[in-house]
């Protein structure tokens, strides 16, 4: 029981990180990133490969953050020049290319077979203690990211963004946000997603390209919308509701045994789709948010 709860909380934590990444990109900067899962994949693979090669897990995690950030650089440059909806599709395509690369370059990534046996931290502790320790790490990462975003938001650049957002005249006069910091923010966000990927890989201990399909990105968007765009506590609440929806539907079947079975997957899709539509229609600001940027 405990171990299952821990597993859910850890996955929620990973999704919270992803949602924070998106909140930084979209909620804070208005960058439409539809390639969250690409950075997630880069992080997961980088860290896993470094750790499997025998280096410390910590080094892998650092590598994941760095590589995910670096991979975001060209996209960040592009983002400063492209219309918002173009960026959406470019990032979507980027994530697909990442998936195709990890699928194809099997000398490095073991391709479609996936990477089994990714080292797990605290594996000597036994399932419950290990889960607890891992949850602690995930929590710490989330808090660190939270602190980082708060600092960015209240730093000089954050005030600039805030000022521009509130002043239409200034916005039209300046045209867009300054380029340099915009690219930096994009890279920092990508690093956060990379971190999430690393944690995810080390927890599940097996990664395969199938885990990094575009729908994951949309789930993260859903979590952000439900939690509230631009709201940091919302990131957690959104992720929790999302995973709650996934996992909660498992128990429907227990309550009415044999009634739905495999059709549950279809129903889950219906629930999620409906939730997204209803949120957008009736509560676009999410549960925690106060405003919706358009």
């Amino acid at each position: 029981m405990l171990s299952y709860l821990l597993a859910i909380l850890i996955i929620v934590g990973v999704y919270t990180l992803l949602t924070q990444c998106l909140n930084l990109h979209y909620g804070f900067m208005g960058l439409i990133n539809f390639g969250v899962v690409g950075f997630f994949a880069i992080g997961a693979y980088t860290s896993a490969l470094i750790a499997i090669a025998g280096y410390p897990i910590l080094l892998g995690v650092l590598g994941a953050i760095v590589l995910a950030s670096l991979s975001a650089w060209p996209l960040g440059v592009l983002a400063t020049r492209l219309r918002e909806d173009y960026l959406a599709i470019v990032t979507l395509g980027f994530a697909e290319v990442v998936r195709i690369v990890v699928t194809s370059e099997s000398w490095l990534t073991n391709g479609v077979q996936g990477l089994p046996g990714i080292p797990q931290p605290f594996s000597s502790l036994g399932p419950n203690a290990q889960g607890l320790a891992f949850l602690g790490i995930v929590l710490a990462c989330n808090l660190a990211v939270l602190a980082l975003i708060m600092r960015l938001a209240h730093g000089p650049f954050g005030r600039l963004v805030e000022a521009i957002r509130d002043d239409e005249v200034a916005a039209s006069a300046l045209g867009k946000y300054p380029t340099g910091p915009r690219i930096q923010i994009f890279m920092i966000g990508a690093g956060i997603a990379g971190l999430a990927g690393a944690l995810y890989g080390h927890y599940i201990s097996y990664i395969v390209p199938d885990q990094f399909v575009p729908i994951v990105t949309f789930y993260v968007w859903m979590a952000m919308i439900m939690g509230g765009v631009g709201s940091l506590p919302g990131s957690f609440i959104g992720a929790a509701i999302l995973i709650g929806l996934f996992e909660g539907t498992r128990f429907i079947d227990d309550a009415f045994p044999g009634s739905i079975g495999v059709e549950m997957a279809s129903l889950r899709l219906v629930f999620i789709g409906l939730a997204l539509v209803l949120f957008m229609r009736f509560r676009p600001q999410g549960i925690m948010g106060t405003r919706m940027q358009s």
Partner: protein
């Protein structure tokens, strides 16, 4: 050797026509509502399943199947607009896009709940191809090309030769001016979404006949169609179709050089280069002239 490339070009055109039809449906919505409608893919799937439904009921008449698909998708598409998108006008691109993703998942969930995850196949006779100087042309692909062309022509006829089409283009061009000129946007939007549904239905039937019908059928077509839409210039119907074909050909002709797993990435690469070099798309667009 040259024959091989000619064959690849033919393959690319066939593939591109399917992508182009989906891109046409996408771009029509984009022209008037200014967002990429992610529900298009699953609308295409609905079309395919509607055709299968007719087959299950006992008719193998493709015309009948197609009519059922068009009827189903037209109604569904208009319902999407009436019950959902109508209320979201002016909310911005992201809100509309996410809503359309929600509708896409919802539609697919409903479909797979009732039809299951197993494949369905249109029962059509398999016939030998025409071979012209080594270039292989399948009879079914000729039909596909004719139907695709007809639907494009029909769409154009509606847009350019009828009063309602004129009003649609006027609303797409400048919604405020259209309203202030007395054009009721609503009376334009509903038929437009109907047309979008019909085009999706035709794409669905064609895709279904060419491949197998499964709940994910249309969704998987979405990314290349998005690319084609941008490539063709957002909101440009002719551009979308031509860009679809261009993408298909580029992808297939590139495959001997990059391999079959990377060929999908080719369309993304084309897109990237184009966006940097020519952000208004290959064929210009409404954006350009506004």
């Amino acid at each position: 050797m040259l024959t091989m490339y000619f064959n690849l070009v033919v393959n690319g055109i066939v593939l591109g026509l399917v992508i182009g039809l989906a891109a046409l449906a996408l771009t029509l919505v984009y022209a008037v509502a200014r967002f990429p409608n992610a529900a298009t893919g699953d609308m295409i799937t609905v079309g395919a399943y509607a055709g299968i439904g007719v087959q299950v009921l006992g008719s193998r008449n493709t015309l009948l199947q197609g009519s059922a698909a068009i009827a189903a998708c037209t109604i569904l598409s208009m319902a999407y607009y009436w019950f959902v998108f109508r209320y979201l006008r002016g909310r911005g691109m992201v809100a509309l896009l996410l809503t359309s993703i929600g509708l896409a998942l919802f539609t697919r969930g409903i479909l797979s709940f009732f039809a299951g995850h197993e494949q369905f196949v249109f029962q059509i006779p398999l016939v030998e191809p025409y071979v012209i100087y080594g270039v292989i042309i399948q009879a079914s692909d000729l039909w596909l090309a004719v139907v695709a062309l007809l639907s494009v022509v029909a769409t154009f006829a509606i847009l350019f030769l009828t009063p309602i089409g004129r009003r649609m283009r006027a609303v797409a061009d400048n919604r405020d001016l259209a309203r202030a000129s007395g054009i009721r946007a609503e009376s334009v939007m509903i038929p437009l979404w109907g047309i979008v549904g019909a085009v999706s239905a035709i794409a669905g039937i064609i895709l279904g006949i060419k491949t197998v019908v499964m709940p994910e059928t249309g969704w998987l077509l979405l990314l290349p169609s998005f690319t084609a839409m941008i490539l063709g210039g957002l909101g440009s119907p002719i551009g979308a179709v031509l860009a679809g074909i261009a993408l298909g050909v580029a992808q297939e002709v590139a495959s001997p050089f990059v391999g079959f797993t990377y060929k999908i990435a080719v369309s993304f690469l084309v897109l990237l280069v184009l966006l940097i070099v020519r952000p208004q798309g290959l064929f210009g667009s409404l954006e350009e002239v506004r």
